[in-house]
C-alpha cells in the first residue's frame, strides 16, 4: 500500500515537472508548480504511513496501548504548515503574473515588447 502512495505522489510530481518544462503560459506553469507541491505533500505523508495504522490522537486507554500502530505525526505537522505557505506563495506569484501582464501585454514567458502584443 505504501508503494501505491509513493508511486502516485511521484507521478503527481513528475506531471507537474513536465508542465513546468514544456508550457509557456505563466498561469499554466503556476498550476504545474501547485501540482508538484501537492505531490510532495502526499509523499511526506506517505512516508509516515503504516499498514492498518491508527490516527495519532489519544482517545482512550486503547490508543495508549497501541502507540506503536499510530501513523507518524511529524510529516503531517510539516504538511499542515506547508499548505498555508503554499497558498501565500501562490498568491504572490499570481500578483507577479498580473504585473507581467500589465507591462508585457502577454502571459507567455517568451514575450518581448514587440511580439508580445499578438501572442
Amino acid at each position: 500500500m505504501t508503494k501505491v502512495f509513493i508511486l502516485s505522489s511521484l507521478s503527481l510530481v513528475f506531471v507537474g515537472l513536465y508542465g513546468v518544462l514544456t508550457r509557456k503560459n505563466i498561469v499554466k506553469i503556476l498550476i504545474a508548480l501547485n501540482i508538484i507541491e501537492t505531490g510532495i505533500n502526499m509523499l511526506l505523508v506517505a512516508f509516515g504511513y503504516i499498514e492498518g495504522g491508527l490516527t495519532p490522537i489519544l482517545q482512550s486507554d486503547l490508543s495508549i496501548a497501541n502507540l506503536d500502530k499510530m501513523v507518524d505525526p511529524v510529516p503531517q505537522a510539516l504538511v499542515l504548515t506547508s499548505i498555508v505557505i503554499g497558498l501565500g506563495t501562490t498568491a504572490f506569484a499570481l500578483a507577479l503574473a498580473m504585473r507581467y501582464k500589465n507591462t508585457h501585454n502577454s502571459i507567455s514567458i517568451r514575450a518581448t515588447d514587440e511580439e508580445g502584443v499578438n501572442v
Partner: protein, 247 residues
C-alpha cells in the same frame, strides 16, 4: 502560445522525466542497509518513534490516559506543531506575513471592474458566512482534541470573508484586519516572553495540571492555536480584499 505544442520539446521532456522517475523510484524502494524510507513495518525506523513512545529524556517514563504526565494535547499532531516545534510554527506564520506584505507591494493598483453579484448569492451570503464562521470557530477551539487546528480554521474563516466580498456585502474593513493581525502576532510573542520569565525557557508551556482529553487542557496550546487562527484568517482575507478591491 508559440511552440508550446512542439513535438520535439515534449518528447525530450518526457524522456528526461521518465529517466529521473525511474531512478527516484529505485532509490525509494531500495532494500540495502541504511535508512529505508519506505520501511514502515519496524517502528524503530520511524522518525517520530521517540515522540510516540514518550521516551525522549527517560527510557522508563510511561503515562496513562487522563493523567497529568505531560502537558501536551490529545492530538499528537497538534502537540508537534504547537509544543515541540513551536519555533518552526511561529516563524512560518512570519513567512506568511512577509509573503502577504510582498503581495501588497507587487500587485498592480489599476482599475478593475467588479461584476455585480446575483440576487441568490447576495441573499444567501450571510447564512453561509454564519455557518462557515461556526465551523472555523469549532475547529480552532477543538484543535488539540480532533483533526483540524489553527491553520485550517484561519483558512475557513477567511473563506467566509471571501464570500462576503464576492456578494458585495460590507463585512470588515482593512483597518480591523490590520489591528487583528497585529494584536494576534504581538500576543504570540508576548506569551513566549512571559513563559521565559515564568519558566526560564522561551515558549515553554506554563499552565500545567490539566487532564489529557478535556476541552480546557493542553495549557497554552489552544491559546496559541486560536491566536494563529486569527492571524492566518486576517492575512488571507487581506489577499482577497487586494484581489477584488475597486481602487
Amino acid at each position: 502560445m508559440k511552440d508550446e505544442k512542439s513535438l520535439f520539446i515534449n518528447i525530450v521532456a518526457l524522456l528526461i522525466l521518465s529517466f529521473m522517475a525511474f531512478y527516484i523510484y529505485k532509490v525509494s524502494i531500495d532494500t540495502g542497509s541504511g535508512i529505508k524510507i519506505t520501511d514502515s513495518i519496524t517502528p524503530k525506523m520511524r522518525v517520530a518513534d521517540k515522540y510516540l513512545n514518550k521516551n525522549v529524556l527517560n527510557e522508563n517514563s510511561t503515562y496513562k490516559f487522563s493523567q497529568t504526565a505531560e502537558d501536551t494535547s490529545a492530538n499528537i499532531v497538534t502537540s508537534v506543531v504547537v509544543d515541540y516545534r513551536l519555533f518552526d510554527t511561529t516563524l512560518e506564520v512570519i513567512v506568511l506575513f512577509v509573503t502577504i506584505l510582498g503581495f501588497g507591494f507587487v500587485i498592480p493598483k489599476d482599475k478593475r471592474r467588479v461584476k455585480m453579484p446575483s440576487v441568490i448569492l447576495y441573499r444567501w451570503a450571510p447564512i453561509l458566512m454564519i455557518l462557515m464562521l461556526m465551523i472555523g470557530g469549532y475547529m480552532f477551539i477543538n484543535g488539540h482534541l480532533s483533526p483540524g487546528g489553527g491553520f485550517p480554521a484561519g483558512a475557513i474563516i477567511s473563506t467566509a470573508v471571501l464570500i462576503g466580498v464576492l456578494a458585495g456585502r460590507k463585512t470588515v474593513n482593512h483597518k480591523t484586519l490590520k489591528v487583528v493581525e497585529a494584536v494576534a502576532g504581538i500576543s504570540i510573542f508576548a506569551i513566549g516572553i512571559a513563559s521565559f520569565f515564568i519558566k526560564g525557557v522561551f515558549f515553554q508551556n506554563f499552565i500545567t495540571g490539566d487532564r489529557i482529553g478535556d476541552l480546557f487542557s493542553g495549557g497554552l496550546i489552544p491559546v496559541f492555536y486560536g491566536l494563529i487562527a486569527f492571524k492566518v484568517a486576517a492575512e488571507l482575507s487581506n489577499i482577497y480584499f487586494e484581489f477584488y478591491e475597486e481602487c
